[in-house]
Amino acid sequence: MTTFSAVHTPSRWWQSRVMRRFMEHRLALLGLSMITLLTLACIVGPSLLPYDSLSIDLRARFAPPLSGGHYLGTDPLGRDVAARLLMAGRISLLVGFTAMLLSIVVGTVVGVIAGYQGGWINAVLMRTVDGFLSYPSIFLLLALAAALKPSPVMITVIIAVTSWMEVARIVEAEVRSLKEREFVLAGRMLGLGRAHIMFREILPNAMGPIIVAATLTVARAILLEAYVSFLGFGIQPPLPSWGNMLNGAQQYLGSAPWLAIIPGAAITIAVTSFNFIGDGLRDALDVRHDTI
């Protein structure tokens, strides 16, 4: 019998079609570099700046940007806005990422189980999802935040609780179509356990939409955190977050507009960048583009 070798030479993941298409998506690349820069700045920035984010200097109150060594000016207590912005970025990005991870994990597990098992399990799980979705999430968020002691961890959990449902829906639909594929039958034929089939055979094939959902969820989580903190129910001062920086800035909009513009710009950049990345990934992972 003749021996056959594989048709294609093996290719590494960065040479794959998905990567190539993502790299051709200009806005996505822009988003990716913005996020990378922002994250790096938030991680190493505070230690490079001459001022601490909490050190109060009452003689230098309301210093405008680029004065006296304060690149972005100072706030009503004379604290350095640049230092506060980057520290706030740490908190906001961390809350955003962690909330995203939590909601992806919960949403994926619920979605995979509901999609694969079908029947009454699906009915119970998906109706629960519908139940959660039927609450206006902002009010749920505010109610929970008002009732519970607001700490970064609690805010993260609350945001996750209000944003896992969309992931569950996406994953459920994907798994329901994947489980009809023959390789799933083949897994059953081999006697693989249910959990093995769900999470090791099916799940890797549903990663595309999950990754897209993840980037969009980060953007949403950052926005939600800012929203709640702005209203005063979120991250509590003196710990800075982009949201509570905005909150603190509203009385001085006329006299010190930079206090609002700077954190506002940071939120906008982070959210749009994540959305661009999400768009780019969605286009790159969309199999309908796979012709030729």
């Binding site: 390789f183 039958l185 093995h196 890797p204």
Partner: protein, 554 residues
């Protein structure tokens, strides 16, 4: 043949392709989809373009229709349609030709029809797009067309949605749409490949009749020499984007010159009409005994009065002797695939017994059946869907044995040995499914099924997604595996020719029941039931009574 029917002044050649080269984007398997091909389609004749997948036959058809994807471009050559050069023609000019001068029917009539429009509306649209007729005249014409393609109750059919029709009826609707504007030429891209053998015979007859009646020219793309023998006047054989042989159908079929043509013709499975040489069995007892197996599909709910009950398998009984192959043959909807899934307990049955090695496995729960699962394995139909695209071949092969407690080192060693056994090199172990061709993937599927050293293999349409030459290789492999390991097989297929190659015994299924069972010699040469007779008669390119297939009488 019927050239005189058309206008006298029309050129004798309906389609003339000269030196056509179509390039592919960089990074594809080869530089050209087709390279320097030339052929003529004489007016009023049927030209068959035959080749295996990837030979460039569909690209050629799409080029003539002006339907090439943007990434692919014509780099050289000319295409003359009815004396008009279409290479370099603008999209608007091409659009006006489509449907009026040349029309196309596709392989999959379900995806080619709009599911949200009635049959009538779609035929109407084909005419409306070219600004032909008034609403009343178009409606009359549509009903006339539906009558012409032999659909029952054209008036009722006009208001039907595609999903209500069978595969054959949908293909008739496609043909009606293609004929709406009386095109001089019809391109048929594998129009019968997705159809059952009896339906295929009807559609082939319909195309031939219409072509004859209207003096149309037909370019018929196929991969099946049986179909060529049925309808072709002339043949173009394509291999990897090149025309390797062309000539009249009788000449190419009787005295093929190019080695590739010879190979293709030799690979076409023929009804042997002879029984398979029995493999000396170790013990003669049956490995599998099925008694009165029943499966009924239920959907909807009784509460809302939407309950639909579809009997899939109705009291089927048979036996498989150790080391033998039972073929289960039937058309789509006959319940043969349901039967396969019942036997391996991917579905639970509603009644009856499945005695495997003397034990009734039908009532066993999944955990109780788990240990026996290894003894019954399956080879799936679609080599592209049956391997998990995200896992390496190594993992695909070893994951089952590992789950049943085999040590990894041993599983890996066995997987490598099996890869070699099914004709793949051991380097395949670390690769991913997308790096392999369809035939190679099917070999991997076979290796996966053999990992447990099963006693019974169920092959569900295991070769129907493959090219004929690959099909023959896979059949040889299965035959060799059976001779070496003594495994019993149930070979489920819709293709009687394939079944005749590999089966010791054949069961013919119709509507969930076995209507006839016996050795191939009986089924093919002396069928007892009407249905079997009908099936055998419908096989393309075969003459009954075991005669050698000859060219179509033209």
């Amino acid at each position: 043949m019927s050239a005189h029917i058309h206008a006298v002044s029309a050129p004798e050649v309906a389609l003339s392709v000269r030196g056509l080269t179509i390039s592919l984007p960089k990074g594809m398997e080869r530089a050209h989809a087709v390279e320097n091909i030339s052929f003529d389609l004489p007016r009023g004749q049927i030209l068959c373009v035959i080749g295996e997948s990837g030979s460039g036959k569909s690209v050629t058809a799409n080029t003539i229709m002006g339907l090439l994807p943007k990434a692919i471009g014509i780099t050289a050559g000319s295409i003359q349609l009815d004396g008009r050069e279409i290479v370099g023609m603008g999209p608007e000019a091409l659009r006006s030709l489509r449907g009026r001068v040349v029309s196309m029917i596709f392989q999959d009539p379900l995806s080619a029809l709009n599911p949200l429009m009635t049959v009538g509306a779609q035929i109407d649209e084909a005419m409306l797009a070219h600004g032909v007729g008034t609403p009343t005249s178009r409606r009359e014409r549509a009903i006339e067309l539906l009558t012409e393609v032999g659909l029952p109750d054209p008036e009722v059919m006009y208001h039907q949605y595609p999903f209500r029709l069978s595969g054959g009826q949908r293909q008739r609707v496609m043909i009606a749409m293609a004929l709406a504007l009386e095109p001089a030429m019809l391109i048929a891209d594998e129009p019968t490949t997705a159809l059952d053998v009896t339906t295929q015979a009807q559609i082939l007859k319909l195309i031939r009749d219409i072509q004859h009646r209207k003096g149309m020219s037909v370019m018929f793309i196929t991969h099946d020499f049986g179909v060529v023998a049925e309808i072709a006047d002339s043949v173009v054989v394509m291999e990897k984007g090149r025309v390797v042989e062309q000539g009249s159908a009788s000449k190419v079929l009787r005295t093929p010159e190019h080695p590739y043509t010879k190979r293709l013709i030799a690979a076409v499975p023929h009804l042997t009409g002879e029984d398979r040489k029995p493999i000396p069995a170790k013990d003669a007892g049956p490995i599998l005994k099925v008694e009165n197996l029943v499966k009924t599909y239920r959907s909807g709910s009784a509460l809302f009065r939407t309950l639909r009950v579809v009997p899939a398998v109705k009291g089927v009984s048979f036996e498989v002797a150790a080391g033998r192959t039972l073929g289960v043959v039937g058309e789509s909807g006959s319940g043969k695939s349901s039967l396969g899934r019942l036997l391996i307990k991917l579905m639970d049955c509603d009644g009856g017994r499945i005695l495997f090695d003397g034990v009734d496995i039908a009532p066993l729960s999944e955990p109780a059946f788990r240990s026996s699962r290894q003894k019954i394995q399956m080879i799936f139909q679609d080599p592209f869907a049956s391997l998990n695209p995200r896992t390496t071949i190594g993992r695909i092969l070893t994951v089952g044995p590992l789950a049943h407690g085999m040590a990894y080192a041993k599983a890996r060693e066995e997987a490598r040995a099996l890869l070699d056994h099914v004709g793949l090199d051991a380097g395949a172990f670390d690769r991913y499914p997308h790096e392999f061709s369809g035939g190679q993937r099917q070999r991997i599927g076979i290796a996966r099924a053999l990992m447990f050293k099963p006693k019974l293999l169920i092959a569900d349409e295991a070769v129907s997604a493959l090219d004929v030459s690959i099909q023959a290789q896979i059949l040889q492999l299965l035959d060799r595996v059976q001779r070496e390991t003594g495994v019993s097989m149930i070979f489920i297929t819709h293709d009687l020719r394939v079944a005749s190659q590999i089966c010791d015994e054949i069961a013919v299924m119709q509507k969930g029941e076995i209507v006839e069972q016996g050795p191939p010699s009986q089924i093919f040469l002396n069928p007892q039931s009407d249905y079997t007779r009908e099936l055998v008669a419908a096989i393309p390119g075969e003459r009954p009574q075991g005669q050698k297939p000859e060219a179509a009488e033209s």
